[in-house]
């Protein structure tokens, strides 16, 4: 048996006749999966350590004598043994997972390994298998199947996340530890992330501001780095996909190479799609009728090119990875109504369903992120640093509006945003029973604008946050966690003057032509506390969680200083410079029952905002466009998600999921109304059947999903009620050992909306102009690993 003893050190000690001490290294492994167990807490005598991502832990200077070794981990049974240094120490220690799967619960109805971690806030872990099986046009559309998660979509390729009815900046998307920063405030574009490059996602529903920064009022979608490949291996996968509804073709190739310490990863992805088809040939919007050519939603084609590469180094107590990624996407907007304004054009949109004419948008998002982790005795230090450049352009046919003459170019808006982030976090295990995290987050943003349409000003924004968080094990099945955070932010808006003259009448009735000022130089400061306290009680089959938290959000530059025509919405949007920070108070609960065949999960929540910020349509005009003003009001919300999974037998399982959220404004001019984009009550029923491996077809699965959504009558101007609907999706997948026995070719076929039902999604951007959801779609994808 090999023992990792530092011989020179030993010799030196012997020479000096001091008491012999040893360095030891042991690997902790899951008994069943044989995978390394990271983040396990190890104690030898009064020394403590935590296993790294390889499952290894190290102790320096352990005296040669008998010690008690204890390894604890939330998901595993506590391991205790006597060791005698240097004679009886194992190289590997196997941990037995807890029977009730305390750390991670597999929701097996979909067999999709949605895993739940037992923190006092409800956290879901979404694995690659789930993403592959439910893959839609964009990442957020893929995640829509998860109860409590929905998406605000525009067209077929763009969507942004919503958790329990809250979206935009209230949901933080974190990629490799760094907050994704784009133009999150806008409704008309999506998330700039390559969905093929995502291996694992952790979704936290509820106020997660404590660890992720003050914006995470509604929750966090954290894209975490995938598993490291084994030493001296080269793995990869190639993926091809096609969809019939929008004639999409997609391809993605990824490789991972690891030497002993060094490794690299690379991925290239491309998607190219045409206009999507809707189950109608006429769209009725206000008094207008738009005829659709062959059911194509005119000019909604698009494409994206994504590239990502990372290089990393891992050693016993140091792990660093640097990732470069670039996402470039371009897609058209529905041509008949650019947003709400009805347009006619001389462009022959119907000539091809694949061309991208005006109006369109394009975005390029570049990121460099470094993640480093240093494992010290009793401490783990994590440093995440990032730079992001988001360049977004919107183009439309130049049309005069009001006093603005016809602009010279098609570039209506340009936003260039640079974001620099630094997060430093220390996790310590020095105090027995406690897992204490302290950290600091710094972020600087610089946003510049261009184009002939003015909506939000240029600005600089600096935020700094400091937090302390502790998880304390009172008893082996009772945990308390709590934390405190303070954030400070400065928003500096830049002045803006229009590029054309408008007539201005002064108090004497004299009319002069002036360049109107739309934004002024303002320096605004914000600061506030966030706090959270939670308890989890774990029993053999049931677990209970309760968490109470206060979080807050610094108003965005768009909310503070917008002042212009939003041509997409054909309205006049105005910020309010005196907005206060948005405060949210929330109680989250969770009850989980899990047995061999049955899993039940209930996540109720209650939430109160004393000053929720939203864009309120007021009964006034600015140059004949309705004014929408950012306003604050008291909001009360509650709701719940419910998931039940029943394994009928080893091959057949069924599951049901329900989500409900109700919001009500308690004050202001929209008292008793809901808040914008409130998702309706909806349920998903799924069934999955595994067919035993035949000679050629392996792991064949058949699956069906029925999504039922209730009517949404709970609206706020300018929304319209949306009828309920049900949609049926069917799918099958199998694996064929065509090229390799070890890595069979995976083939998946899916049929969405099989009855070609005409339905409206209440939270889709195009819902406002009465555009239904896409019609029937067949998608086929193949994946070959090597």
């Amino acid at each position: 048996m090999y023992r990792n003893i530092t011989i020179p050190f030993l010799l030196l000690c012997s020479v000096l006749f001091c008491q012999e001490t040893y360095n030891i290294k042991i690997k902790v492994i899951d008994k069943y999966s044989s995978l390394p167990v990271s983040e396990a807490h190890v104690t030898i005598g009064n020394q403590q350590a935590v296993t790294n991502s390889e499952g290894d832990f190290y102790f320096d200077n352990i005296k040669a004598q008998k010690h008690r070794l204890t390894i604890t981990h939330v998901g595993y049974q506590t391991y205790t043994t006597e060791i005698i240094i240097p004679t009886s120490v194992a190289d590997f220690i196997y941990l037995e997972p807890k029977e009730s799967l305390l750390d991670e619960v597999v929701i097996s109805g979909d067999n999709d390994k949605k895993l739940l971690q037992k923190k006092s806030l409800s956290t879901l872990q979404v694995e690659k298998e789930f993403l592959e099986e439910n893959r839609e046009n964009s990442l957020m559309q893929t995640l829509k199947k998860i109860p409590g998660v929905s998406a605000i979509s525009i067209g077929s390729g763009q969507s942004k996340p919503v958790i329990r009815g809250l979206g935009f900046n209230r949901v933080v998307v974190v990629e490799n530890g760094i907050k994704h920063e784009a133009q999150q405030w806008a409704t008309d574009h999506g998330l700039e992330i390559d969905q093929y490059n995502v291996e694992q996602i952790e979704i936290t529903k509820g106020a997660a501001s404590l660890l992720y920064g003050s914006d995470a009022i509604a929750g966090v979608i954290a894209i975490t780095p995938g598993k490291l490949p084994a030493k001296n291996t080269l793995t990869g996968e190639a993926h091809l996909t096609t969809r019939s509804n929008n004639d999409l073709i997609g391809a993605s190739v990824g490789i991972k190479k690891r030497y002993t310490n060094w490794y690299y990863k690379a991925r290239l992805s491309h998607q190219n799609y045409g206009d999507y088809r809707v189950p109608t040939d006429k769209i009725y919007y206000e008094n207008y009728v738009f005829d659709l050519h062959k059911n194509y939603l005119r000019n909604t084609a698009g494409f994206n090119y994504d590239i990502s590469s990372s290089i990393g180094y891992i050693s016993d107590n140091f792990h660093t990875e640097t990732t470069f990624s670039n996402v470039y996407a371009k897609n058209g907007f529905f041509a008949n109504a650019h947003g709400l304004e009805v347009r006619t054009s001389r462009i022959d949109y119907d000539a091809s369903n694949r061309d991208i004419d005006l109006p369109y948008h394009k975005v390029n998002h570049f990121k460099v992120i470094n993640n480093s982790k240093i494992t010290l005795p009793n401490h783990t230090l994590t440093i995440d640093a990032g730079y992001q450049n988001n360049h977004r352009e919107e183009h439309s046919e130049a049309v005069p509006h009001g006093y603005m003459p016809t602009p010279e170019s098609s570039q209506e808006r340009l936003f260039v945003k640079n974001t620099y982030s630094l997060n430093v976090q220390d996790q310590t295990y020095a105090i027995s029973g406690h897992k204490i995290k302290t950290g600091i987050n710094l972020e600087y943003q610089n946003n510049t604008i261009g184009g002939w349409g003015f909506l939000i000003p240029e600005y600089n924004r600096f935020t700094a946050g400091l937090f302390l968080y502790d998880q304390y094990e009172i008893h082996k099945n009772l945990y308390v966690e709590g934390g405190l955070r303070y954030d400070y932010g400065i928003v500096n808006t830049k002045p803006y003057y229009e590029w054309f003259d408008s007539p201005v009448t002064d108090s004497n009735g004299v009319v002069t032509q002036q360049r109107l000022q739309r934004a002024s130089d303002e320096n605004l400061k914000f600061g506030s506390y966030s706090a959270s306290l939670g308890i989890s009680y774990l029993q053999k089959k049931t677990s209970y969680k309760l968490n109470i938290g206060k979080s807050f959000r610094i108003p965005l530059a768009s909310e503070l200083a917008s002042d212009g025509v939003n041509y997409h919405m054909y309205r006049y949007e105005e910020g309010s410079i005196n907005l206060k920070s948005e405060n949210s108070y929330q109680i989250d609960g969770e009850i989980n029952f899990s047995s061999k065949n049955l899993d039940i999960l209930i996540n109720p929540f209650v939430n109160y905002f004393d000053n929720y910020i939203y864009l309120n349509p007021i009964p006034e005009y600015y140059e004949t466009l309705q004014r929408y003003k950012y306003t604050q009001s008291e909001v009360f919300r509650y709701g719940s998600e419910l998931m039940i999974t029943y394994k009928v037998n080893t091959n057949f399982s069924v599951s049901g999921a329900l989500e409900y959220v109700k919001s009500k404004q308690l004050s202001g001019s929209k008292k008793n109304f809901t808040i914008p984009f409130s998702p309706p009550l909806s349920a998903i029923f799924s069934a999955k059947y595994n067919i035993k491996s035949q000679s050629f077809f392996r792991d064949t699965q058949l699956f069906a999903d029925l999504r039922m959504t209730a009517k949404q009558n709970d609206i706020v101007p300018p929304e319209r009620p949306t009828d309920g609907y049900s949609l049926l999706h069917l799918g099958a997948q199998t694996q064929i050992p065509l090229i390799s026995e070890k890595h069979p070719l995976k083939i998946q076929c899916k049929l969405n909306n099989i009855f070609d039902n005409k339905v409206y999604d209440h939270t889709s951007f195009y819902r406002l102009i009465q555009v239904p959801e896409p019609g029937r779609n067949i998608s086929i994808s193949i994946t070959q690993k090597f």
Partner: protein, 157 residues
């Protein structure tokens, strides 16, 4: 099974909480109405307005709660960028570059607790403006913030 029973009880309890708490505080979810489709309604689709003349725009509006304000927007359609919602197709003139097009953008409050209101707004068509196709959009907002619009293709000669 005891556990399942208790979970189900909690579910039912939560369910009843949700259904009981549906509010009785009614909200106004109706948009106002707006129409020029009556005998005196003006302008109708394809109407030709003369430079130097005065016209009275007449549009009927109504709302279930209260009307708050209305707006009239007249802008050129020399580039054929939009069309009206009256269902008729006016013959448009050739596409041309504007020189001194007429721009009329005004909004007016509707005071009091008015549920029925006829817009009667006199406007003067100036002499020295470009002739051609114009677009007249009339919109109304109720006290809640719901807006309705109607737009009409006209000509000025």
């Amino acid at each position: 099974m005891k556990k399942i029973a208790s979970i189900l009880t909690i579910t039912i309890f939560l369910g009843s909480f949700i259904s009981c708490s549906s509010d009785n505080d009614e909200t106004d979810t109706e948009k106002p109405t707006i129409s020029v489709n009556y005998n005196e309604g003006f302008p109708k689709s394809c109407t030709v307005l003369k430079k130097g003349s005065q016209y009275t725009i007449r549009v009927k509006t109504s709302d279930n709660v209260a009307l708050a304000s209305y707006a009239i927007d007249i802008h050129h359609n020399f580039d054929h960028h939009t069309h009206d919602d009256q269902g008729s197709q006016c013959v448009l003139g050739a596409i041309k570059t504007p020189e001194t097009p007429m721009i009329f953008m005004e909004s007016y409050p509707i005071n009091g607790d008015t549920q029925q209101f006829e817009i009667k707004q006199t406007i003067a068509i100036p002499d020295h403006i470009d002739s051609g196709d114009y677009h007249c959009q009339i919109s109304v907002i109720d006290a809640t913030g719901w807006q309705s619009r109607t737009s009409i293709d006209i000509k000025i000669e």
